[in-house]
Subunit: 650 residues, 2 copies
């Protein structure tokens, strides 16, 4: 064997504990190999080298690896480096070896919220089936098959003005001459798109889809009843190419191949969910005749293989706003070839079809009461208004709630700390993990709880800074100030799980983005907290957070808690409503046009609002009387209130 | 080498003079091998064994061939059999050998009429290009690319109510961010189907197509002027699978593969013609945005891969009558992917889009004068009427005029006898061949001339029977009575070229079919010969026949010769008109609905009419006063007129 054998044949890499294998070429990183192998390895920043999440453990002679980069020295502790940790995105290897993916670098089995509010929509699908009794042509009636067939639909079902799709035309000569006696027309929007042998009128299904930046949710519906038959979800397979929409867009606009790759990935994910749903429900893909799609504008463009260049820079113009239909073959979705896909309209570059769907599900556009809707995710969309006026904005809340950019952050998977209580006297920590197993990290809802509890315990102040005067061994300085949430002996990783000063800054920044959005919309409509009748918290992440603690840290303005409702995946609900109702689709188009989009970046008050919103809960504590009085009771009310920044005059 | 090597590796066959090669498997016939090799070998009946046209010369030991079938003994003369002639469709071989395809079994270079009458249609194409000056999105106008683009088209070109095709939507984000300044919208029927970079408004072309059973004709048009840029034609590559529509339908309905095979063949032929036209004209296929298709109903169905089962048996219902649009990709036509194909409407199972196109080209549907239009081909369509009433029927004239079922018949290729004069005294024959080379057979126009000349010379009588009493060495009995048109020493095949009693029966049958159709329509409209203002003879074959001699043999009723006009490929003209004019397409739809189809087979008078029409020119000679007086002058008027058959009462 020659020394450079590994160069010509490729270097074998095995990823443990999954045991997945890949062959690497010279110059490829371990992260590339993990993607190739399909190994579960977190890469929040998509390989840019700024998240430090893709740490892997390599037990091999150093000469088999490229040397440690400055970035790695910065992002990995001395101890980690000694143990053999490397960043997969910054390391290439020179010979065959085994890479261990530590638990904290794995996604794990994800808890994905798919259930949402149930909102009634009258069953009136765009696609329907009609069975007719076939009559053979005769000398007395030798009109074309098409004419005779349309005539039967008219006589038996009172359907006028139908057209035949070419695929249906092709089916007719065979259908009429089979002697089956019956045939079933599949009619979509006055077009006969397919003809099936026999009476299959009772078998017609639809697939409603919500494409999230992080999560895909799919719903199989029986279109004869409008009922959900099965639900499923999966992580968006695009995640390795960027955790947030900005990273994903940046990857897509590199070149046409990258854009197509992301398109194929998301469709593969949707096809996999559908396959599972069909198997569960004993339905064939040929019986699924329509799909509705919602998602933010970037997901919308990437699903459709539309270049998202317009979304990459101001003024963030989308390619198209209107809803429209595409053929399943065009995008590769494996429903009936004769089926249709309806993509709901978007509002703007960063307020997408998901926001329209949330509006449909929450019916804010027809209420008299004033509603504030927060659809919290990697991107958070906020709606404020009622039947008279509806505004929306988009907040780059970022992936912190998904665990990214947080030292021990992780997604809401098994072992994630999801609930936290801190004793204000002893500073002892009680926590609960998903699946009640040993903790391996902290998920978004845990971070919200932790931040609120740290504030209430006085461990951090309203500025989010650690109080280094408190007397607890949990608060330590190690590179930076950090608070130990779980000691190494309690955790499944054998490491302390901590929250650092930087982590708290990330959470402050994320919640400030949302708070700023809400404030801005309120100012645009000249309304105060008391004027808001209902706060609806939507989104997968939103379903798990504690609305009380979210309010304590000032994720949203201080509105009476009894007015706050968690509505789950409302975007999915909207997609389902559009699937079963023509009227809802018309409403979607009208809503997308009526929503007034507010671009936060161009607001003169944006900078000041954002800075004030970084405070916990807010720089002007008088806006949070309940929280203020609680902090006073706990003796944690600041002696010197934080400074309020006022916007500079234009 | 093992003895059975040829069995396992395939048997090598070389077709001379073309030198084409094929490997045969056990059980395959030489005809199969010829198809495989793409060798030029006539097969009028598609391998059914009833045309006797696929004779090939094999110089090999008899043990290499399967034994002579009864059919071959019947269709080949003793002399031919001794020379080594076999029927390719009935012979399999057991070892490698060379097959010689004699000249008379080859198609040769075909003379294909593509020019037709020129009828004015105002330039008003469905597809057009519009150039706009692009404006980048701004904070002041951050609407979607789609909205801004449609707005530009509205402002700059006054185009309202346009929609964007998905392909166009996908092009917009790229187009807007290229910085080219200009873009050109391709608009089809209020839909923007494509967007091109820069100003390409002057480059837009269309492809008009006439799919004949035997011949394909294609016309490349500049859609900014409506002018023809180039014309081309080719034999229909489906011919080896059946020479007439009935044989072609029978082949197609064998199974789905056969149907698809015929679809691919015809599209391959159309793509080849287009490629030649584009090369000649320096046009790119991406600049060809629309195609119009005409053809008889069987060709229409086979082009579209629609099962032609309905056309195979009474009541011959087509799949669809209306015209409609299909995407180029659906059928595989290589024009712009974003282009469209418009298939003109048909009238009935055997009166197709070609008849509609002939009506458009001749404008019979808007004339006050009464027109009789004969579109002569393997299938002959007849139109009779004017603006008040238009009727059509279809006559199975068969492929005799294409040389099929005629002993020395051939297509209108080089060496075909196309014009004949016979001296009524000496019976000497003068003939003219295509390309003025030595004759190798007789084409359709030659057969019409020959029949008329034989009648005028008294060599055959009005019943079509040879007069065995005439004194000429040209009339001989060899298996049957036959007349030598060209002696072996004059021909390129080295064989006598003859016309046999059976050949005359075939011609009588073909012309009787046409004559019966004309008579039937005249009876339906209660008009006599004198009432008809114009006779228009259309079709490729029709362009070459001598209208006088055609009238002498009674191919059409005896109408004054000055009223008879030859209009060439009028179907192609109609296809071109529909390509450049929206109005003409609407007229096509109206015409297809207004034409009253008369089904000859169900006419009670059909049998009697057909029998009477078999006579030359017709059983009732009083209906042909001019011809009668000519025969009287020549002394050939029958002493005993032929019997007139009257239809039996129902």
């Amino acid at each position: 064997m020659h020394e450079d054998d590994s160069m010509t044949d490729g270097i074998s890499i095995i990823f443990q504990p999954e045991g997945k294998r890949a062959k690497m070429r010279k110059g490829q990183t371990i992260l590339d190999a993990a993607k190739l192998a399909g190994a579960d390895l977190v890469s929040t920043c998509g390989g840019k080298g700024n998240c430090g999440k893709c740490r892997v453990l390599i037990k091999a002679e150093p000469k088999l690896l490229t040397s440690m980069t400055r970035l790695e020295k910065q992002l990995l502790s001395g101890e980690e480096r000694r143990k053999g940790y490397r960043l997969a995105c910054r390391t290439s290897v020179k010979g065959h070896l085994i890479v261990e993916v530590p638990e904290e670098s794995r996604t794990g089995r994800q808890r994905l919220q798919v259930e949402g509010i149930k909102t009634h929509a009258r069953l009136d699908p765009l696609i329907r089936k009609y069975c007719v009794e076939l009559e053979n042509p005769s000398l007395a009636d030798n009109r074309s098959d098409a004419e005779r067939f349309l005539d039967l639909l008219k006589r038996e079902h009172n359907l006028n003005n139908l057209r035949l799709d070419f695929a249906a035309i092709k089916q007719l000569p065979v259908m009429f001459r089979k002697g089956d006696g019956q045939a079933t027309a599949v009619v979509w929007n006055e077009v006969v798109v397919s003809v099936e042998s026999g009476n299959t009128a009772k078998r017609i299904f639809g697939y409603a889809v919500d494409i999230g930046t992080t999560k895909l949710a799919g719903y199989l519906l029986d279109l004869t009843t409008g009922e959900v038959v099965a639900v499923g979800s999966a992580l968006n397979p695009q995640i390795p190419y960027g955790e947030d929409v900005i990273a994903r867009i940046a990857y897509a606009i590199k070149d046409q191949d990258a854009q197509e790759q992301l398109q194929e990935l998301v469709v593969t994910g949707l096809n996999q969910i559908l396959k599972d749903l069909l198997e569960k429900s004993d339905v064939s893909s040929d019986e699924v005749y329509e799909t509705t799609i919602v998602g933010n504008t970037a997901m919308h463009h990437l699903f459709l293989d539309i270049c998202p260049k317009g979304l990459a820079s101001s003024p963030y113009a989308p390619a198209i706003r209107n809803g429209f239909n595409v053929d399943p073959e065009t995008v590769g979705l494996k429903i009936s070839r004769q089926g249709k896909i309806y993509v709901l309209p978007v509002v703007a570059g960063f307020v997408g079809a998901d926001a329209v769907a949330v509006a449909l599900a929450t019916e804010v556009y027809k209420k008299t009461a004033l509603n504030l809707v927060l659809d919290i995710g990697t991107n958070t969309e906020i709606l404020l208004g009622n039947k008279d006026q509806l505004m929306a904005c988009s907040c780059a809340s970022g992936p912190a709630f998904e665990g990214a950019r947080i030292k021990h952050g992780m997604r809401a998977a098994s072992g994630a700390i999801e609930k936290v209580r801190i004793d204000p006297v002893t500073f002892d920590v009680q926590y609960q993990t998903i699946d009640k197993v040993k903790p391996c990290g902290i998920c978004g809802s845990g971070m919200v709880d932790l931040t609120a509890e740290l504030l209430k315990a006085g461990i951090i102040n309203v500025m989010g800074a650690f109080n280094s005067n408190i007397n607890s061994s949990r608060l330590r300085f190690k590179d930076e100030l950090q608070f130990i949430v779980a000691y190494s002996k309690e955790t499944s990783t054998g490491q302390d799980i901590t929250i650092t000063q930087k982590d708290i800054r990330e959470i402050q920044s994320a919640k400030a983005a949302i708070h700023t959005g809400a404030l801005t919309l309120m100012r645009h409509q000249n309304v105060a907290e008391k004027d808001i009748d209902t706060v609806l918290i939507a989104g997968a992440f939103g379903s798990y957070i504690d609305p009380t603690n979210a309010r304590v840290i000032g994720m949203y303005p201080e509105i009476e808690l009894k007015k706050v409702k968690v509505v789950g995946n409302a975007a999915g609900t909207g997609a389902r409503m559009a699937l079963i109702s023509k009227k809802i689709r018309n409403q979607a188009e009208a809503v997308s046009r009526s929503i007034k989009y507010v671009e936060l970046a161009t607001e003169s008050s944006f900078q000041a609002d954002f800075c004030n919103s970084l405070c916990l809960p807010y720089a002007d504590l008088s806006e949070y009387p309940d929280t203020s009085s609680m902090l006073k009771k706990l003796g944690k009310y600041p002696k010197r209130p934080p400074p309020m920044i006022t916007p500079s005059k234009k």
